[in-house]
């Protein structure tokens, strides 16, 4: 019971400071439908990132990790930001009077279904000691050392480790970013001890907060509440994403969630051009870079969408030229056999089509995600290119291109045929692709409906 209280308070502080940050950023738009849910959902991600940023600062300053050193400044920051954002809170409306009785049943039903899923996943998170392989050879290794020592110490490769005479630590991937291990450190600090099951609570919180944020984003895009909550359920129901909650400890689910929300925040900025959305998108994009090594490429895929929004006349040409330049650079690099971000580039186009098709369409990783996404691409081609969705479409396209290059031209294609890394890499893109799919289908439906409303219909006598 004490454990539950300590963990709840610890991560409650992180979530609240994030909500306060997002609310302060979006205070001008907080009363829109869905923005409150978006603020609460995104708040977790902002807070979870800020906690780790603050822990980096503490470590740099030589201050030991403790509840006081980590949480106290965050509580003060929360109070200050909440004070700043308070007029917006007052204006927020919780009314749902526009929904019909049937729609409310849909909302309650889907919410219950989601709640059951999250309760079941929570049991696995709370009971299972750190299980998956990479979690205990390259992620929690750092957390364990940093928690015990009370500050961040550097990890290094073998040769540097031998030369350092005990000043550096070693694990299977010493160069991996620190954000995810710092989550486990914060859990342990809040808990007061090392517990390699309970420290993984942030993975569960990631799933819950992501569902809330996606509901908010879809709602704000104009979908009715029942449709938006169905969208949130669809985005939260991917089996592989669920496994990454139940068997917590990998950085792929956080990578996927931060990337999806960064892309949606950037897209929202292209719509309203508010300072708040720009800062939020930038913060989430920076977080991507600190979660996994490929995060820098995922963050880079946001750039074409921003260019398209900033330069509507010349943007498409610039994006096309940029794309051609990237492909040319890749082709040139591939002749020299370089290693980029751990992937050996080589121009040897040989994708493992059979394994890729099995992964996308036959196995149980994604439910119907790829079928629906392809269908949306076909029927919603007009909407995809429309100014409202084009920036997000370009981002999704850039993300898909990144995966195609990685799995068709690099040594990563070896991981396709044995169904190992392929699905984890796809996981980075699938939640965003699903959100984009729902936005495309909604836009297509709105066009269908409006054209039906304006088309004269023959009336039988």
């Amino acid at each position: 019971m004490i454990d539950a209280l300590r963990l709840t308070l610890g991560w409650g502080v992180a979530w609240l400071v994030g909500i306060a940050i997002v609310a302060a950023l979006l205070r001008a738009t907080l009363k829109r439908d869905g923005t409150l849910a978006w603020t609460i959902g995104c708040g977790y991600f902002a807070g979870a990132f800020v906690v780790t940023a603050w822990m980096r600062v503490l470590s740099f300053a030589g201050i030991a990790f403790s509840i006081a050193s980590i949480a106290l400044p965050l509580v003060i920051a929360t109070a200050a930001l909440a004070w700043y954002a308070r007029p917006a809170w007052r204006a927020t409306s919780f009314s749902n009077s526009s929904t019909t009785r049937g729609e409310r049943w849909v909302i309650y039903g889907v919410a219950t279904w989601l709640a059951v899923r999250f309760v079941v996943l929570l049991l696995d998170v709370l009971f299972t000691p750190l299980y998956p392989w990479d979690a205990w050879i390259q992620w929690a290794t750092k957390a364990r050392v940093w928690y015990a020592l009370g500050h961040i110490v550097p990890f290094a490769r073998s040769d540097a480790w031998f030369a350092a005479n005990g000043a550096l630590w070693f694990d299977a991937s010493p160069n991996y970013p620190a954000t995810v291990p710092l989550w486990q450190v914060w859990s342990s600090v809040a808990l007061g001890r090392w517990d390699d099951a309970l420290m993984n609570l942030p993975w569960w919180l990631t799933a819950v907060a992501f569902a809330v944020a996606i509901f908010g984003a879809l709602r704000e895009s104009g979908m009715r509440a029942p449709v938006a909550i169905i969208g949130a359920w669809i985005a939260s129901s991917l089996p592989l994403a669920n496994v990454h909650v139940a068997l917590a400890g990998y950085a792929d689910l956080p990578m996927a969630a931060y990337y999806a929300l960064a892309a949606v925040a950037a897209w929202r900025w292209t719509q309203d051009r508010t300072f708040g959305n720009a800062v939020l998108a930038l913060m989430l994009a920076i977080a991507c870079v600190t979660i996994k090594t490929p995060g820098v490429v995922w963050a880079a895929t946001l750039v074409p969408g921003v260019v398209l929004a900033l330069l509507p006349r010349h943007g498409p040409r610039i994006v096309a030229i940029g794309l051609a330049a990237v492909l040319l650079v890749l082709a040139v690099l591939a002749q020299t056999d370089p290693v980029v971000l751990g992937y050996r580039l080589h121009l040897d186009f040989a994708p493992a089509w059979q394994a890729l098709i099995a992964s996308l369409f036959l196995l149980g990783n994604w439910h119907l995600a790829w079928y629906v996404t392809i269908a949306a691409t076909v029927i919603g081609w007009k909407e995809i290119r429309a100014p409202a969705l084009a920036p997000l479409s370009v981002t999704v396209g850039a993300g898909a291109l990144f995966l195609l290059v990685a799995f068709a031209f690099t040594n990563a294609r070896n991981w396709v045929s044995d169904q190992t890394t392929i699905n984890r890499a796809l996981l980075h893109l699938v939640p965003l692709a699903l959100v984009w799919t729902m936005l495309v289908l909604h836009a297509w439906y709105v066009r269908q409906r409006s054209s039906a409303a304006t088309t004269p219909v023959a009336v039988a006598a």
């Binding site: 059951v116 899923r117 079941v120 049991l123 696995d124 009971f127 299972t128 000691p129 750190l130 299980y131 998956p132 392989w133 205990w136 050879i137 290794t141 364990r144 015990a148 073998s158 480790w161 031998f162 630590w169 070693f170 694990d171 299977a172 001890r193 090392w194 517990d195 390699d196 099951a197 309970l198 169905i230 129901s237 089996p239 592989l240 496994v243 990454h244 139940a246 068997l247 990998y250 992964s359 369409f361 036959l362 196995l363 149980g364 990783n365 994604w366 439910h367 119907l368 079928y371 629906v372 169904q419 699905n423 289908l441 297509w444 439906y445 269908q448 409906r449 039906a452 219909v457 023959a458």
Partner: protein, 339 residues
């Protein structure tokens, strides 16, 4: 049991050795009409991938002829075969046999053979059984989810996608004939997608609940350390517990060697925050010239590392020797301090 060596344990035939000619043959006498039961499933486990395996049968129509069809293996199990189209699957089947070619590397467990009718209902039952097969967490779960049985002739996502496409096409065609608004087709399509998605998700939720029950029965009510002792590496944990009691409180340099990648990585994980070094992806020992007095060495289930108690030294790969003192020997592991 015409060829090979086997014993019956419970309801399983455990085959431990092939016959001298390198073949193993398991046969049963049968008597059924071939037309009524065209699908044959051998229930066997422990078959290595790539092993040549075949179904043999004899019929009353051609009693002198032994017929053969090669069987496929998936995840160590034999894939059921439909022999309806085979011209020699005729009359009454009077004998079935399973032949495994080559030596038996690991015990082969055979529970029996089933001949099933190839009716639509039976086929549907098979597919449902495959879709609903429990999929417990394994080391591979973090990378991929099969969505039921490992081998599925008709995966549920594909079946639902085809059904969706056909349903929406029919609705669209009807609506076009009636000259009704296409927006209603999109609404119907949306509803059908949600229903299909829910069907897949309900199957997945059943699996999640089953797994949560299994997890709870293994770990519920245990503290953090008891969970480790109930986990996948309990012997290693027990050894590291004793080693930690001997190791200094302050982080020390510790080298870990073990034959298995798993044991090296897990031992290191349990030893942090000590300053641990090991080869994550190769079964290798540290360079002997890099070890110095005061370093510690954990050896866990590692062949080729020899301790000379008289001379107080360790000898390993390439004849390197390191002066050490043995501090602990327990649970297949040893802890040394370098002198």
């Amino acid at each position: 049991m015409p060829r090979g060596t086997a014993t019956i344990v419970g309801d399983e035939l455990i085959v431990s050795r092939a016959a001298d000619d390198g073949n193993t043959v398991i046969s049963v006498t049968t008597d059924f009409r071939s037309r009524d039961y065209p699908v044959v499933a051998w229930i066997a486990a422990g078959i290595a991938p790539g092993t040549p395996v075949a179904l043999l049968w004899r019929t009353d129509v051609e009693p002198a002829r032994v017929n053969k069809r090669v069987l496929e293996i998936d995840s160590g199990q034999l894939v059921p075969i439909d022999v309806q189209g085979d011209p020699h699957w005729i009359g009454r089947v009077v004998g079935l046999a399973l032949v495994v070619q080559g030596p038996i590397e690991q015990p082969l467990r055979v529970r029996g053979v089933v001949a099933r009718p190839g009716t639509a209902l039976e086929t549907l039952r098979d597919r449902v059984r495959e879709w609903m097969a429990p999929e417990p967490w394994t080391g591979a779960s973090i990378n991929t989810i099969a969505g039921g049985a490992d081998l599925q002739p008709l995966p549920l996502p594909l079946m639902l996608a085809v059904a969706l496409l056909m349903s929406i096409a029919v609705i669209g065609w009807l609506q076009r004939r009636r000259r009704g608004p296409m927006a209603s087709v999109s609404r119907a399509g949306f509803a059908l997608v949600v229903v299909a998605w829910f069907a897949l998700d309900a199957r997945w939720m059943v699996n999640l609940v089953r797994q949560a029950q299994a997890t709870a029965s293994q770990y519920a009510g245990k503290d953090a350390h008891e969970k480790l002792l109930a986990g996948q590496d309990r012997d290693l944990v027990a050894f590291i517990d004793k080693a930690r009691a001997i190791l200094p409180k302050e982080p020390a340099r510790i080298f870990v060697v073990a034959d298995a990648d798993f044991h090296r990585g897990r031992a290191a994980y349990h030893l942090y925050p000590h300053n641990v070094w090991y080869e994550p992806y190769r079964n290798a020992v540290p360079p002997a010239d890099q070890l110095r007095a005061g370093d510690w060495l954990v050896v866990f289930q590692r062949r080729g590392v020899q301790y000379d108690a008289a001379r107080h030294n360790l000898r390993w790969d390439a004849g390197a020797t390191v002066p050490v003192e043995l501090k602990l020997l327990d649970h297949g592991g040893a802890l040394f301090i370098v002198q």
